[in-house]
């Protein structure tokens, strides 16, 4: 029994770790979606966090905790710089700006010497323990639970529903959107740092546009009405390719079909507000 568990753990722990990291990324984009803004920069933020944390532990011998926090702080700072001019305006400006930003970051990773150029960073020390992931995820879930029933959570929800009405109610809409975006960048950066320290390398190819869209898909599939949606969505989308492995080459097609099905039949995602309500309250 013990042997079985050990070998199962050995086979699947990478998958389990990835589920947690992807869950954090889904929550990072949820924060911007929750105030009606679309960020396509969260993959780049994750990359910045991964490089920052890895460089700190590898080259500066920094303690893991400090490296992780720095890996969150740098993208958060960058998010403030991008967010302050773009989030004054409502609409698609953030999406456009983060799209361009993601490309800039990708090219920078490829060409800077400190990031190891096109080879990336190899031999990142193995520092991420499973309990680190549990702890970070636990803190995040606790944070989102507290947020929901607070004045800050209500303000974000109001901005999401009707920014104009929210501003007339005295809510500083730009401020809230900028903080939500920066906090999301922080989460993505920490997730990147955690990821780098169990995959042992950081590659410049992992944090491009395609992964930004994957992160968005995690959230949309799971549903963005509550923070549980993105967690469920990312878990399913991380597991699905593994579960469908037996399908061989048809795997990706089926993956796409499932997505299509959910979008058509569950427009609010897999988990919506109604999921938490008693039947009698609906309608």
């Amino acid at each position: 029994m013990g042997e079985f568990l050990a070998s199962t753990w050995y086979t699947y722990n990478t998958l389990l770790y990835t589920i947690f990291v992807n869950g954090m990324l889904a929550l990072s984009i949820y924060l911007t979606l929750a105030c009606g803004q679309l960020s396509l920069g969260n993959a780049a933020f994750m990359g910045m966090g991964a490089y920052t944390a890895a460089i700190l532990t590898m080259k500066a011998g920094a303690p893991f905790g400090i490296a992780l926090i720095a890996g969150g702080a740098l993208p958060a700072l960058v998010a403030l710089i991008i967010g302050i001019p773009t989030l004054r305006l409502s609409g698609v400006y953030l999406a456009m700006a983060t799209l361009g930003f993601g490309e800039v970051v990708r090219v920078a990773f490829l060409n800077m010497s400190i990031t190891g150029g096109s080879l990336g960073l190899n031999g990142v020390p193995a520092k991420t323990e499973f309990w680190h992931l549990l702890l970070v995820m636990g803190i995040l879930i606790y944070f989102f639970v507290k947020l929901k029933s607070s004045r800050f959570g209500r303000a974000l929800e109001a901005i999401n529903e009707d920014e104009t009405a929210a501003s007339v109610m005295g809510i500083r809409t730009t401020l809230f959107k900028v903080w939500a975006f920066a906090a999301g960048a922080f989460i993505a950066g920490v997730a990147g740092g955690l990821n780098a320290h169990f995959t042992f390398f950081v590659s410049p190819r992992e944090y491009g546009f395609e992964f930004a869209v994957d992160i968005l898909t995690f959230a949309i599939l799971g549903g963005t009405q509550t923070f549980w949606g993105p967690i469920v969505g990312s878990t399913i989308l991380t597991l699905l390719p593994e579960l469908l492995r037996f399908m061989g080459p048809y795997r990706l097609a089926l993956n796409g079909l499932i997505l299509l099905f959910v979008v058509i039949y569950l427009p609010n995602g897999i988990v919506s507000r109604d999921t938490f309500k008693k039947k009698a309250d609906r309608g």
Binding site: S150, E157, T164, A165, S167, V168, M169, R273
Partner: protein, 251 residues
């Protein structure tokens, strides 16, 4: 209390407001009337900071608020409702009112995260107050409902409650009777008078003069962006320009 001074507003090449001047005295119910398209809502949008005027100034309690952002104007004590209802449909009635109370809350993000006593007492106190405000418009028994499930008239009342929740000195109400039947309209006008008696100054927009004749002390009439009359309801009703504006529209 509120002074609107020579407001001009152009949309592209179109002049929508042309030198609008009026004053609202503290404690009054002031009516802003005029045919559809006269520019009434645009006046509210400028006063509440959603639009910038092309020229002119808005003075509130002696301070120039012309170019302040909406949240800063709300903080000065001006709140409003919208002609096309803009409640937060997915949120409960109570949450709608709590959003209105946003600026009355002061606890920090740390107090939120660690569930500090300051947060708990503030939330408890203001939730009770929110229930009181809902009962002002007879919606307290539906406090947990999603706002989108309210009837049309209920949504209008909720919007009024949410505006009151900001604890304004001046309340701007844009066509509260739109889409309501005569009985509902009468009830609503009654509620506006009640709110006024509690000490709120009110400025109300209406396109149908008859509806607000009975409750306003002072009325300004707007037609094609120009102020064509101002005075007591009796004076305004007899003003030939006003009669022409209304007959011209109907004829």
């Amino acid at each position: 209390m509120l002074k609107v001074q020579n407001i001009i507003k152009d949309f592209g090449g179109l002049r929508v407001l042309d030198g609008v001047v009026f004053q609202v005295a503290e404690g009054a119910i002031f009516g802003l009337i005029g045919p559809n398209g006269a520019g009434k809502t645009t006046v509210f949008n400028i006063v509440s900071g959603l639009l910038q005027p092309t020229d002119g100034r808005v003075i509130f309690n002696g301070a120039d608020i012309t170019r302040l952002p909406p949240h800063a104007i709300a903080a000065q004590g001006i709140s409003r409702t919208f002609q096309n209802i803009r409640i937060f449909g997915e949120m409960s009635l109570l949450e709608n009112v709590l959003v209105g109370m946003h600026r009355l809350f002061s606890y920090s993000p740390a107090a939120m995260f660690f569930d500090l006593p300051k947060k708990r007492t503030e939330e408890k106190l203001l939730r009770e107050k929110a229930c009181d405000i809902l009962s002002l418009v007879n919606l307290e028994d539906k406090a947990d409902w999603a706002a989108k499930n309210l009837s049309y008239g209920g949504q209008r009342k909720l919007e009024l409650a949410r505006a009151l929740a900001t604890d304004p000195k001046l309340l701007l109400v844009d066509e509260p009777a739109a889409g309501m039947n005569p009985a509902e309209t009468e009830e609503l006008m009654d509620e506006i008078v009640q709110i006024n008696r509690r000490g709120y100054t009110i400025c109300v927009i209406e396109h149908d003069m008859k509806v607000i004749m009975g409750i306003c002390g002072q009325i300004a009439v707007l037609n094609f962006g120009e102020l064509i009359a101002e005075g007591s309801p009796e004076e305004v009703k007899r003003n030939p320009l006003v009669i022409e504006a209304y007959l011209g529209k109907e004829g």
